[in-house]
Symmetry: C2
Subunit: 421 residues, 2 copies
Amino acid sequence: MKDMEDATSLIARMGEAARAASVELAVAPAECKRAALIAAAGAIRAATDTILAANARDLDFGRDKGLSDAMIDRLRLDADRLRGIEDGLRDVAEQRDPVGEVVAEWDRPNGLHIRRVRTPIGVIGVIYESRPNVTADAGALALKSGNAVILRGGSESLHSSGAIHDCMVQGLRQAGLPEAAIQLVPTRDRAAVSAMLQAQGLIDVIIPRGGKGLVGLVQREARVPVFAHLEGICHVYVDRDADPDKARRVVMNAKTRRTGICGAAECLLIDRAADPELRAALIADLVAAGVEVRAEGELADLPGTVAARPDDFGREFLDMVMAARLVDGVEDAIAHIRRFGSQHTESILTENDATAQRFMAGLESAILMHNASTQFADGGEFGMGAEIGIATGKMHARGPVGAEQLTSFKYLVSGDGAIRG
Amino acid sequence: MKDMEDATSLIARMGEAARAASVELAVAPAECKRAALIAAAGAIRAATDTILAANARDLDFGRDKGLSDAMIDRLRLDADRLRGIEDGLRDVAEQRDPVGEVVAEWDRPNGLHIRRVRTPIGVIGVIYESRPNVTADAGALALKSGNAVILRGGSESLHSSGAIHDCMVQGLRQAGLPEAAIQLVPTRDRAAVSAMLQAQGLIDVIIPRGGKGLVGLVQREARVPVFAHLEGICHVYVDRDADPDKARRVVMNAKTRRTGICGAAECLLIDRAADPELRAALIADLVAAGVEVRAEGELADLPGTVAARPDDFGREFLDMVMAARLVDGVEDAIAHIRRFGSQHTESILTENDATAQRFMAGLESAILMHNASTQFADGGEFGMGAEIGIATGKMHARGPVGAEQLTSFKYLVSGDGAIRG
């Protein structure tokens, strides 16, 4: 109870500082925000040793805590990864500034001229887990879009995130922007996450990036609007009218290019009416590449597969594992995905445009692909620049969430003494 | 406790029916939705007597309950108001259908063609108070945008809303659309409102339309995303560089054209450096029109004014009452509005474009007017068609909320066997 009180008053103080900073940021010139990001990149370069030393402390803490190798790997920084963070900051710096952009503009018979212009949202809260680079990425995107941000990194990355955050603040200072524009919650206390989720009036939107535990906490406790980031349970459906070469190429890429990203395919659906040779080839390719294919029904008779358990469908493996099932055409594929998917990204392989259209109309996923790999689910690949992640909710922003998606808008209306009749 | 359980299971049943209907609606042809709305308008015409009889029962109930005259007036239907409802349905029927519209489209060097297309949100919950016409208006906009809707009208309008709802369902039936596309919560039990606010996974967004009590309930209990509709505490600021004639015309219109709408001005801010004659004329106009001007400081010396109390600022009168205060130029006006406003609509009167620009940049309201009356805050006046209201939140939709604002979007991506390198 004491902890929760402390956390609530901490977040209240940070929220008020963020709100004050957001007023300045909303009218900060684009050049000024750009300069802050470039200065932050320089500060990261200059602080390489300090950041790596902080990271070493986090790695020690993580090993003591018994983190898995995969988590330790996410936590680890090295010179290359720091260079990546620096490049990311410079990339965001050079992106188009979305604030003030006139999205639509029209005249009315009542004499009014109406413009809809992009504005910052205000104060954004980002809750993330072990990767310390999010401190720089999320801070940069929030700043670019004129928002103040409160970052709450994983408890394992406290020192690394702190050292990176120091560099972001140096950038702000050098550009004459308020330091409270990018704040980092300075405690491992989990109560701070709850306090952020409940900070109505202080935080305008929460972006959670993490696993099932965080998603559940957000669902139970959030009072602040949330950009939902559910899992990426991505499906590939190979239709009876698929081109065999394209299908084999895309399925292999969707599963194996990188297995740990949210756009990696987790389930293969094959039309029962597809050529049995293609069916066999798709599975054989995966098996040969070292994928554990958890197959159902007749597919489980194919060499190298293992029998699927019911909970293998609707599961995000993030590994060299793929569930596989036969379906009765596109309608059955849609029904399967509606039941087991997470509204992230799905792909259909077919040369039949009507079937592709039906697939794309019948599903509500943020991204629907036709003859393309689910691994393209990425802001950079979409040409939208850096992103905080892929949102799967239906409100405000969905799909890749970059600087533009972190904006709201307002209407500016001009008349010449216009009164309503 | 028993009530809450009943309400939760009622809303769960309605939510599941709505979800199933929404799947059909998402792919329903535009013509089909149009036909349903036209048929519903015809059904309203045919059921005039039934609806008026139901309304008479509600009026009796309302009088017994001791409703104010203003509330009884909102509740009352007559032949004219029914004709207005019917016309509203036909207007929405003839509006452009937003679903499937390609909002943006581009090609990528990776060979992908990307389209962002409008989709329905899914299931919308609308919670409103006494006006029974909202049953038709909100039902029509939800249907136009391909969403299923769960309507929860005011307990006083139960019979009127029920009779109107019957007509909407007739329209759906005649067009071959699922009846659960438009459902009305069939109980006066307030627990149903709480159940809707907590129906995560069943309802995608809640649109609350009502006074402080409902707003507070939503803030405390909502688990589902909300399109915030706060009060319309609209300000008019008359700058030192205002044209006197325009200023007098706009202030009068903003306050007196209709006092009961959310776009009515509630507070007049006058630049201390403005011509004292203009200052006097603005107040004299209002007093002469019968407005109770609650003035502060020197303004309270002007004839016909009454002294303002501190809580007259930041207050939505919805009546022939206006707060008035002198401010020290545009920055002070901005500071006042930031403190007391509700981010709805504000207007500046000035011939100085730089000052107007500063006013529009420095405020976060959904609608900012320059030399125009706040009473233009209306979807119809904006050329956006019928609306459910003016949203003051910053997420997803703000300003006038019409059919287009009730949509989400998805990305449709086509390749030719494209794989990511």
